[in-house]
């Protein structure tokens, strides 16, 4: 299947606009992806026709809303090939999912001297929740180092693994430099030492095929907004025996079976972890995003993205003084770069004037920036709706910006 990019672009209303007098070029897809019209329509349709609280009312609207809400859960289950829908916990985002695991699995399983392994590539969202629970429990965090290319050091990883490691928390793909980590192998190694593995899939969900069973993942987290869906929706997949053994997270409505002042019994999965009225509208609209991706061929989407990556890498390499940060052999379509003698922020400001959206700064990975001795980088991140012409315009604007600044 070849993609008709112009037709695809027409599905994303936001792409059709001028920014500072030029057509928008959106290269900040790692921060959040744009939404197809079907998602936007689903959102307004829900509020216009079905709005009701779910799992409670027996009236028609409540039933429609509940059915649509649970349908999203089923689609998520299929999208990542989870064994069952009740292992799909809906949260507010990747950050919410990681905090949930830290505060429940971590609280129940970490004790003094236990180790949590994370990597030098992690987003702050996959660092700070572990630091919080580690501090509380007296557990120790150790860090898997990365080499100059931004590839994890697997020898060091093997050496760090021992019986005191309770959990390995690892991103599937680095948001800052695009490295795809060899999680299948790393999970196997962790399991061989009795450790569980939490995968932060924020950056892989839209760009790689995910099969949580084939990969034997214990916990997998991602955000709907990075998969062309709405903000405010996240997913936590967990293995059944783990989820069942974990204490509840937040208390409130929905998560209980029976409440009395003497004591409360908790609801079953997944509701045990979903206290309060959830983000019904956005969860329902997320369904349309999954449908959208499913209707195109994932393989074709990924092929398009990798072609964009290869082209952009080649074009950027022709700019004297430009250095690409992150040169792992396995990458998704993310390019981080720095320019000799120019602060990334200055490039970001000028590119914005050309209508080009990239990200500059530390990308919420300060320890990784420190590893490379940089205050930050410029990052262009692509999605399948981006084009080769956009890359040409970007490189032209970048050259012009560099000229202005030098």
């Amino acid at each position: 299947m070849t993609l008709d990019i112009q037709k695809i672009r027409a599905d994303f209303p936001v792409l059709d606009q001028q920014v500072n007098g030029s057509p928008l070029i959106y290269f900040d897809n790692a921060a959040t992806t744009q939404k197809p019209k079907s998602v936007i329509d689903a959102l307004s349709h829900y509020y216009a026709s079905d709005n009701a609280n779910i799992h409670r009312g027996i009236h028609a609207l409540a039933e429609r809303a509940t059915t649509a809400f649970e349908l999203t859960r089923t689609k998520i289950k299929e999208f990542i090939n989870a064994p069952s829908s009740d292992q799909i916990i809906l949260t507010a985002g990747t950050t919410g999912s990681i905090n949930l695991v830290a505060q429940t699995f971590g609280r129940a399983n970490f004790s003094k001297g236990d180790k949590i392994l994370i990597s030098n590539l992690e987003h702050h969202s996959n660092i700070v929740p572990w630091q919080m629970i580690a501090e509380e429990k007296g557990a120790i965090i150790e860090v898997i180092p990365v080499d100059e290319r931004g590839v994890l050091d697997l020898v060091a990883y093997r050496n760090l693994l021992d019986a005191s490691v309770k959990l390995v928390a690892l991103n599937h793909v680095s948001n800052a430099i695009g490295t795809i980590n060899p999680i299948a192998e790393m999970i196997q190694l962790a399991h061989a030492h009795g450790a569980k593995v939490m995968i932060d899939g924020a950056q892989s969900i839209a760009h790689l095929d995910i099969d949580v069973q084939a990969l034997d993942i214990d916990f997998f987290a991602f955000s709907a907004h990075k998969l062309f869906g709405p903000t405010g929706v996240g997913v936590l997949f967990g293995k059944r025996e783990l989820l069942e053994s974990m204490p509840p997270y937040q208390g409130g409505g929905e998560m209980i079976k029976e409440v009395s002042f003497e004591g409360t019994t908790y609801n079953e999965l997944p509701y045990k972890f979903e206290a309060g009225t959830p983000n019904i509208a956005d969860v329902i609209a997320f369904s349309a995003a999954i449908d959208y991706v499913n209707a195109l061929s994932k393989e074709a989407l990924f092929t398009q993205e990798l072609a964009l990556l290869a082209y952009a890498t080649e074009q950027l390499s022709t700019i004297p003084g430009l250095r690409i940060i992150g040169t792992a052999p396995e990458k998704i379509a993310v390019i981080s770069f720095v320019m000799d003698g120019i602060h990334p922020q200055d490039l970001g400001v000028l590119l914005d004037k050309f209508g080009i959206a990239i990200r500059t700064g530390h990308h919420c990975v300060q320890p990784l920036m420190k590893r490379f001795g940089l205050p930050g980088t410029c990052r262009a991140s692509f999605a399948f709706y981006n084009t080769f012409e956009e890359i040409d315009l970007f490189v032209k604007a970048l050259r012009r910006s560099i000229n202005m600044l030098q």
Partner: protein, 140 residues
């Protein structure tokens, strides 16, 4: 007698009025940034750093007679250009004049986007910090 805060703002508005496209404007701004003398290393202290900026920005203030003198620096040259204009407008004035100053020129020269919080380039924090210095000096 130095010129008033208002007069300097009018002067800047006039200078920027000469440019009809954004690129010329930014080239001028970059030029201002490059021309602003660097802050001496001993003044680039943690204490002088303005928090909340994507690039590091340092601001130092001292009193000379009844006037406040600002010096500042940044790693990013566009920010430095913006700072250079703020210094031109606010430095060498009394605490009271600085505290009262309404910096309408930023909007008039089309740079108000840099005041937005999300820009996190610190122009807003910079203005706040300059006024804080003025307040602190006037309290002494």
């Amino acid at each position: 007698m130095t010129q008033s805060i208002q007069e300097t703002q009018e002067e800047l508005i006039e200078e920027f009025g000469l440019f009809d496209d954004w690129a010329d404007k930014y080239e001028y701004l970059i030029d201002l940034g490059k021309k602003l003398p660097s802050l001496s290393e001993e003044l680039k202290t943690e204490e002088n750093v303005i928090k909340g900026c994507q690039s590091r920005v340092w601001l130092h203030a001292k009193k000379q007679g009844d006037q406040i003198i600002f010096e500042a620096d940044s790693e990013a040259v566009i920010v430095k250009g913006l700072i250079s204009m703020l210094i031109r407008v606010l430095s060498n004035h009394t605490a009271e004049e600085i505290m009262k100053a309404d910096l309408y020129f930023i909007d008039q020269i089309g740079m108000s986007q840099h005041l937005a919080q999300t820009r996190s380039n610190g122009l807003l924090s910079m203005v706040k910090q300059m006024k804080n210095y003025a307040l602190a000096f006037s309290a002494k």
